[in-house]
């Protein structure tokens, strides 16, 4: 049955007493229905488009968000809910993603669990390389890549990087930070945490920063804490070198 409001599509939906089929009054053309679906499917910044229920046991999977990550299916995904029995909780699964099952008493609960499972599996697979994946993991990756644009998801989140910096200028705004890797950043207030605002010019600090995944550009400083490293002379470096291991002491190998 159809649930929820259908936004301004000029269509009229009615609740059907049975599960299937979908009933339409003044049924629009197939192309119109497809357009409505497509419009909402790709609507930006929309979370959990749950309105387009096919029935109590099926859900159309649109864009959904888990934490900060937006998951946008690349094709049509229909979730199937197997209602709970006294012994077994309900199961929500999607054909084509056989290894992922969401569990819950209701379809919404099970679907939310399924979305968490998708997120957990994708993020875990991102932490592995293709050459080290088991057969099951490779199959999961293959299935997921057919349902979602994994490259987009990989690049969607900013990278968190630890860096060392020094506050070199406060006035005139913006805040200017020189990083230990030699680069510098001009930062507006919304890009720096409150702790940094309290620092005086010349303060050295360690920071966790967010960088754009595609460009590597700094997005914002997440957190900072003061650091004061000792002054080092050339003699200290020479001294350290004298205590370092030499490759002469490493095992020998043949030339081939």
């Amino acid at each position: 049955m159809l649930c929820g409001d259908v936004p301004s599509a000029g269509l009229e939906f009615v609740r059907a007493p049975q599960l299937m089929p979908i009933m339409l009054v003044d049924a629009p053309s197939t192309a119109t229905v497809a357009q409505v679906i497509a419009d909402d499917w790709y609507a930006p910044n929309v979370r959990n488009w749950n309105w387009f229920y096919c029935d109590a046991t099926r859900q159309f999977i649109g864009t959904f968000m888990v934490g900060e990550v937006l998951y946008r299916p690349t094709g049509q995904l229909i979730g199937l809910f197997e209602p709970p029995t006294p012994d077994i909780s309900g199961r929500f699964s999607v054909s084509g993603l056989s290894s992922l099952v969401g569990r819950g008493r209701t379809i919404n609960e099970a679907r939310a669990d399924w979305e968490l499972s998708v997120d957990a599996m994708i993020q875990r697979l991102f932490g592995t390389q293709d050459f080290e994946r088991s057969t099951d993991e490779q199959e999961n990756m293959r299935q997921l890549s057919q349902c979602f644009d994994l490259t987009e998801i990989r690049y969607a989140l900013p990278l968190q990087v630890r860096n060392c910096g020094k506050l070199v200028s406060v006035f005139p705004r913006p805040w200017k930070v020189r990083w230990i890797d030699g680069t510098s950043s001009d930062l507006s207030r919304h890009q720096v945490p409150a702790e940094l605002v309290r620092f005086s010019v010349g303060q050295e600090f360690e920071a966790v920063v967010e960088q754009d995944s595609r460009t590597g550009d700094l997005v914002k400083i997440v957190s900072v804490f003061k650091s004061a490293r000792k002054q080092v002379s050339d003699r200290d470096v020479t001294n350290l070198l004298s205590r370092a291991t030499s490759s002469k002491d490493l095992p020998d190998l043949d030339w081939d």
Partner: protein, 361 residues
């Protein structure tokens, strides 16, 4: 395992993803953050080995020049090695480097002292690279199938480089060995080093699956005869890789170098394309292999610089246009397989059919 010859623009950087969120980094290139993007996007948590072949800006991201500037220590050129050290700190297991003339005064060396002072590294984790009569084992995989060996510089090379104040002449040359095949990371090594290597090998050429052409395809302080000897007799490689930036002020890669390797290898791949190969670089952006598959410096966005000539005309110079971009090789049970080489070959074919004259043809 996967070996990435990272497109960092003008510079050199190789990352070996060893699995379990671990990696080996050989040089860091010169562009801030590219190598960090690679490491973070692949969720690398531990650097098993950070190896700096020599302390030149395009390999260690400016560790060298820092010492020669009289500005405050914060007004220095980019130093990627510092960025990696700052992020990973106690998550780096071994740091290997050549203690050339530039090292002692570099910020790299000083930062190592500071990290030791804070208890984040121990002196035993630092390895100074120098070879005697045989290659040395720098790293080995757990199953002992894959090894990273250092074959140069010899003691004599290091001493000579110190006298000449030429860091290139004591570059570390590394060999990745896997199931009887090799990848040679030649950094900016010079002919003198290779002659010593060949002497110790009883003049048997270094037979490898791939080599990074030294000095970004430049002439390596030698003559054309040296180059012909090197490409023809010293090295026997299937693939020659040139890590080069589209707009570089050095004239890299040298046409004679590319031609010499094009004759002796089956394929020459540059990370970025230069005006020597294509007159209209914006027409092939982001790269001749299409959308890059791995993080790289080559850019999808237009990146051009307009320069006025003396005669009043304006020259438009493109930057960061990919050729093969970041090149990837997979280490399998059967050996070392390079990926997307066909796409690169087709891309070069297309350049030729469009009337361009790429150096590798």
């Amino acid at each position: 395992m996967r070996v990435l010859f990272v497109d960092v623009g003008q510079g050199t950087c190789q990352v070996i993803l060893t699995g379990r969120r671990r990696a080996i980094v050989i040089d860091t290139g010169s562009h801030p953050r590219t190598v960090m993007r690679v490491l973070r996007l692949f969720r690398v948590e531990t650097i098993e080995l950070l190896c700096i072949s020599h302390n030149d800006e395009d390999h260690a991201g400016g560790t060298a020049k820092s010492s020669s500037r009289k500005n405050s220590k914060w007004k220095k050129p980019p130093s990627l090695v510092m960025g990696i050290l700052a992020h990973y700190q106690d998550a780096i297991e071994t740091i290997a480097f050549v203690p050339d003339t530039k090292f002692a005064k570099s910020r790299f060396g000083k930062f190592l002292v500071q990290l030791e002072d804070e208890g984040k590294i121990r002196p035993e984790q630092l390895v100074t690279i120098e070879v005697q009569a045989t290659p040395k084992l720098l790293w080995e995989s757990e199953n002992k199938v894959t090894q990273l060996a250092v074959i140069s510089p010899l003691g004599g090379n290091t001493a000579s480089a110190l006298v000449k104040k030429n860091a290139n002449a004591s570059s570390a040359i590394l060999e990745l060995r896997h199931r009887g095949q090799k990848i040679v990371f030649a950094a900016d090594s010079e002919y003198s080093q290779w002659r010593d290597v060949l002497r110790l090998r009883s003049n048997r050429p270094v037979d490898c699956r791939a080599i990074t052409i030294p000095h970004h395809g430049g002439l390596m302080s030698g003559t054309l005869a040296d180059l012909r000897w090197f490409a023809g007799s010293a090295i026997k490689a299937d693939i020659a890789i040139v890590s080069v930036g589209t707009r570089n002020g050095y004239g890299h890669p040298g046409p004679e170098t590319i031609k010499a390797f094009a004759l002796s290898t089956s394929q020459v791949c540059c990370t970025q394309i230069t005006e020597k190969c294509c007159g209209d670089l914006e027409s092939v952006r982001p790269s001749i292999v299409g959308v890059p598959r791995f993080p790289c410096r080559s850019s999808t966005d237009k990146d051009v610089k307009r320069k006025k000539r003396n005669d009043g005309s304006t020259v438009i110079r493109s930057n960061n246009v990919g050729c093969a971009t970041t090149i990837s090789a997979i280490l399998t049970d059967s050996g070392i397989d390079f990926e997307r080489l066909d796409e690169h070959r087709r891309g070069v074919d297309k350049l030729v059919s469009n009337g361009h004259t790429p150096l590798c043809r």
